[in-house]
Symmetry: C2
Subunit: 453 residues, 2 copies
Amino acid sequence: MSRTNPALALSAKARRTGEQPISFLMAAVQANPNLINFAAGLVDPLTLPVDTVRRIAQTIFTSDARGRAALQYDTTLGLASLRRAALKHLEKLEQKSAADFGVSERDILISTGSQQALYLIGDVLIDPGDIVIAANPCYFVYTGTLASLGATVIPVPMTSDGIDVSAIEKLLGRLERENQIGRVKLIYTTSYFQNPTGLTLSAQARPRLLELARRFSRHHRIMILEDAAYRELRYDGPDLPSIKSQERENQHTILTHTFSKPFAPGLKTGYTAMPADLLEAVLHQKGNHDFGSASLTQHIAAEALDSGLYDQHVRLLCQSYRLKRDAMLEALKRFIPASSGASWTYPSGGLYIWLTLANDLDTSRSSRLFQACVDKGVLYVPGEYSFQPVDGPAADDRGFIPKNHVRLSFGQVAPEQIEPGIERLAQAIAASVSQRPGEASPTRDVLPMNAHP
Amino acid sequence: MSRTNPALALSAKARRTGEQPISFLMAAVQANPNLINFAAGLVDPLTLPVDTVRRIAQTIFTSDARGRAALQYDTTLGLASLRRAALKHLEKLEQKSAADFGVSERDILISTGSQQALYLIGDVLIDPGDIVIAANPCYFVYTGTLASLGATVIPVPMTSDGIDVSAIEKLLGRLERENQIGRVKLIYTTSYFQNPTGLTLSAQARPRLLELARRFSRHHRIMILEDAAYRELRYDGPDLPSIKSQERENQHTILTHTFSKPFAPGLKTGYTAMPADLLEAVLHQKGNHDFGSASLTQHIAAEALDSGLYDQHVRLLCQSYRLKRDAMLEALKRFIPASSGASWTYPSGGLYIWLTLANDLDTSRSSRLFQACVDKGVLYVPGEYSFQPVDGPAADDRGFIPKNHVRLSFGQVAPEQIEPGIERLAQAIAASVSQRPGEASPTRDVLPMNAHP
């Protein structure tokens, strides 16, 4: 029987939503499982708390009452004991009482990873054409999400002090003069050990950013979305207080945390503190999405926090990642000569090192360098994916997307893979340098960052 | 320091999205935990598989490799072994090879409960003003979700054979003549033991519905969204083949299943078979929502299916619910006299009985009957919430919302609560009948249904 094959009629949003750009990396891994994978933002499988979660599951399911609660529906907002434990944990991180930054258990949302919270916040704030200010480079999964929601993402440069707060001030001033300030909904910043650069928003910049959000909220409230996914993976230096902890009123900042990076991605559990009116809108939306994340994984996360096993695990994890970070920095220093014009960041935490090559070297997916790396058995994320193409009212000279950056992650790799992986990368870079075209391509250094000392 | 409190500027979608209408029921339960709760659509806590999941968790976490996989990220599509096991399970339910209905593992999406799949499907198909055809009454969480997406939900009557397929044919014909057929995206049907009526789409109606979707898909593909959440909670009669299993091409039907009702809501895991082009759009969207549901709960669900523990549990569950259904039907017969004009459905599965009172009795939230029940310590869902207000091109005489229905669930209550609960309800009804106003309110019987024999 022959039958026509009528097309699906997709929504405008579906038509705006493409595949995440880096799925080709997965294909490269599948083609060669022996690749040394500096591309994956995954956590180290060997550090996953298998035995800890086994014991926690035993504790939960040995009690009929707890076991039943873990297998029943919970609320859309999230398990009360987890919200309590998360708030207590937050107080410990901030070293102050939650009352001093206006947050109670009722202001904490549990979500399916912090990504779901990021999504929901975008969903309730953004209409097509609205503006989000974000760093350039930035976490590309979220800028993709924002684009799918129809947002115009206006990038401001990333500096060694984090997102460039002076550039945000200038931008907001211009948008106000141009009567576009009504479109500005969010300022998005990964305030600790940013993906992809590994850089942290400085202590001085934090209150300044908050002051800007307040000052420019004359017509409606401009929110700061502070993504603290990597906060607890800290290897050097002090833990800075969050932006959120610096406002008393729980009004302008949203602070997202996750259990994925510091504990286990498989729990897919995040927690977010946000203003009550925003939370109400987010809850209505989450009611439609799933009316609550899996309660079993919430019970496990709550028990991990309450028992102290979470803190123990974070300490072990930091030791393990610190060694891997040091090994990668050491290998970069050893194999990439100063004469090459390359520099890289020195992250005090997180999973990423951002490598900047000479201006005329191309790291993109279609480049000889990328192919040479795949051939040699090492994988990275081309830096271009972390940059925003600029459109809308900010289409000035920042529309340029540099091609000479590399995101390196020491997250998933085994310690002993780091040196050989960087050696392979360095060989591929050296070969690319020797094959340089005579004429330099039109590039520019857009990212003044802290280079390796 | 005094400071202005500028308002949030919410998105159009957030402004369309209200609280789920029945949160007042939660408040009633919190005020009196001793209420006999026929309102909650929760599963029976005493039947939750605590010991089974404890053993499954042990199995998973005793192996380092499996434990690590369960704690690591998985893919956006979902755990491969769960998709395989779900497909095998589906073949058993349909009693035919999946190849015969065009579905492979790659066409199965794992989601955070089936609600997330329902949401995502709406999100990728519906622009504001698009039409979804649904039964009246219908599962109110999803009609609320559709309204939030901006859909115009056009209701067609529910009959004892399920959603009224002849009415759908008439409606589609009219929409085609009026050049509105381009707006029709979905026909939504809970094809087994519907929430709220307990009624099932008849064997004869299933291929007819599929034929209609095909016939009216001249310009774009009209999809049937078949929600099979209650399918495996079957107490009498044969398991009918799904609508999905009756098309060879995997083109017009989406079939959603969940582990929440037949196993454990706390896993919050559902699986959905759908056409490849639709799945691609859904995956892009889910990539933005959460890039994959919790992998730990997926590993548990997969092990439950593979080990046979799932099937064992479903058998136990059906025995337990069958007894509770019978007790509720028995109590209704005993306490509600034939002379009252009341009738009720006789569900062969699921969690609900739909009680229809005399036309002039009001069951709504603000009614004397509802308050009398709360005072006596029994709770139900007023039937009005399951009906659609009609707007848009179908604003004809179906705009009427009847107030004389009650949704009763025997899901969460203990067996020994059923008789006293129905007795209290019957007393409240008898008191309302005696307090009837002299003048009957303008009502009409809109739902010819199978009454208790």
